[in-house]
Symmetry: C2
Subunit: 348 residues, 2 copies
DNA sequence: TTTATTTACGCAAACGTTCCCGATAATGAT
DNA sequence: ATCATTATCGGGAACGTTTGCGTAAATAAA
């Protein structure tokens, strides 16, 4: 099934004039007489003419579209980021093409290549949890391809970046747990390749040390697949609770990690917060509906998407190469609910 | 910032041969000698040649991309549908462009026009809750533009459709509530424009009648904006509970409606299921974590995305116009948890 | 009236590809 | 040695659009 579109030629033929005249008339060029313009406009309207963006892209060597690579969209944080991205892109007439890496390095490479070959004008990317080697990104970047990193970034690439103050998020979450009397705080986190892992865990460690607690490496559990595989989280949580000194609190540094952790605890029959407290990095909008209402570090996801897109479009539309890059650091918010506050402590 | 790509011309120039030879060599044409082919292939590899899909699109008058319009992606059901869509599209080399109507008719019209003008080869759409007038879709459809409707469909357009057995979903949910002793079951649903509203409410009504209960129109609350505005849900729920005969159960027919309903009940201090039971249409993956664990009608969302995409690609790639259309009806699953089962009833 | 300027339009190239149609040279058949 | 056939390649049009350049007619300036 093909579906024939009206072209500028059809208008030209119908009016017995040249295509260049039609083109200029449609673009409201000063070289075209008002009468001809009106004629063309009327005819275009009548034939329901729509400019062919593909032809335009070919001509202008730009597609007016940007690519987005995230691990998955079925994730509150990322879908909110995407909303932010779209809000800006939409206004500026850019199209957004979303790709999911599913936390796989291989898929990320393929996605990137696909997007670049689809002639997107720029790229917004949050790295997959598997990603360690960055040659695929560097290759594009050194060619002058506009890229903005967000959320899971890397310092190996010198470009605009938008992140949240992950250190602070980790610090605040941990300090909050400490203040509520927890002495054995574990952390459930992503692969060690990820910037967010380092930063959040660093905040966690610093909060421990600043409050006179020791860092126990056995309390730090990494999930290589970042929670894409439930069993991985389950194993990690189980490992925490088969130790001699079981944790009295868990700080989960990601959306999937948090929900996966809660599920595992529930299945093990552990009560939150009585047996173990939980604080999670999460942008779920039903934190208050969870049993118990979940204390979360919430990220300004929409804002992050907006900022990243603004920076990217700035990169794309700049005439001369940009050499000075910006790193925007947004502030996360600790939303305290019951999952991190033991009943007795509440009554202090 | 522009970024210069290697073209077929560059290869031709480097090798001192014509572009047609290069093109044919790359396509492994029989007319090209093995030596030349190897030369071209090596050169393409060396220069890191990537075919320009835009040029190809212009030539072949197809973009190898499909458009998807949903109300929003930050919704478990739709993000799962999209995963299904991508799984098929990816395999077949199609690109997926996602647009969000945000339940707005105006945005849906704009999105549609945008996608069509972006030269997508076909369209997958689930109608917005505001959509009543279908001229925008019909216009495209009568032009021969391949469209597949899913989830929120309309009978006004004769094409492939993929839905869930919404009647059955509504029936099963309601019957389950009745079996658990509920006598005053209310339903919180979307706008009356939506097919899913009719079907689910019809199932609800039928279950009532089949079990000797009367349909009370005061128990049927429509949310015009489908839950995009929390206050709307809040109002609807409040309206239910300011009646003389307060409901003892609520059946919410959508994801947002369900969570919004739960939030409102919680804020009103109503206990689920003791004060009121709840069953929701939802694809959330944390139904078990909600307080209380939520009974849901779960839809095979991934499957729906896959099926719809298969049908669309079939439409797109068919040589001759298709006149016989299919309507696939998938089966929803009632997952029973505690939110719909009163404690006493449990002990039966 | 002649020349210079403006107005209003058309021609054709270009963007990167594919592919139809030749064209040349080498091979085979006679 | 002549003709038909094959193998291998190039020229150029086409997809839909924009745009630099050219040019005819109309107007203004001399």
């Amino acid at each position: 099934m093909k579906f024939e579109a009206v072209t500028i030629k059809d208008i030209a033929r119908a009016l017995g004039i040249s295509t260049s005249t039609v083109s200029r008339a449609l673009r409201d060029s000063y070289e075209i007489s008002p009468e001809t313009k009106q004629l063309v406009l009327d005819c275009a309207e009548k034939l329901n003419y729509r400019p062919n963006p593909i032809a335009l892209s070919l001509k202008e060597r730009r597609s007016r579209s940007i690519g987005v690579v995230v691990c998955e969209i079925a994730n509150n944080f990322f879908s909110q980021v995407i909303n932010g991205i779209e809000s800006i892109a939409y206004d500026k007439g850019y199209n957004v093409i979303i790709s999911q890496s599913r936390e796989s390095y291989d898929r990320e490479v393929i996605d990137l290549q696909y997007l670049a070959s689809r002639s997107v004008d720029g790229l917004l990317i949050s790295l997959s949890t598997e990603t360690n080697d960055l040659t695929h990104l560097k290759a594009l970047h050194t060619k002058g391809f506009p890229i903005v990193l967000f959320d899971r970034i890397t310092e190996e690439i010198n470009t605009h970046k938008v992140i949240v103050d992950n250190f602070r998020g980790g610090y605040d979450a941990t300090e909050h747990l400490i203040r509520n009397g927890h002495k054995r705080i574990a952390v459930l986190t992503n692969s060690e390749f990820l910037s967010i892992t380092h930063e959040r865990v660093a905040g966690y460690k610093e909060a421990l040390l600043a409050n006179g607690q020791k860092v126990n490496e056995d309390y730090i559990q990494h999930c290589f697949y970042g929670g894409m595989i439930f069993e991985e989280i389950e194993d990690a949580v189980n490992k925490l609770f088969t130790q001699r000194n079981k944790p009295d609190a868990i700080f989960a540094t990601g959306d999937k990690l948090t929900t996966g952790c809660l599920k595992t605890l529930k299945r093990r029959g552990l009560k939150v917060p009585d047996d173990v407290s939980v604080v999670g990095f999460s942008n779920t909008d039903i934190a208050e509906l969870i049993d118990p209402p979940l204390t979360v570090v919430r990220q300004p996801a929409f804002e992050m998407g907006k900022d990243a897109t603004e920076l990217l479009l700035q990169l794309i539309e700049s005439k001369r190469p940009i050499k000075e890059f910006e790193k925007r650091i947004l502030t996360p918010e600790l939303q305290i609910r019951e999952s991190s506050v033991k009943k007795m402590v509440v009554a202090e």
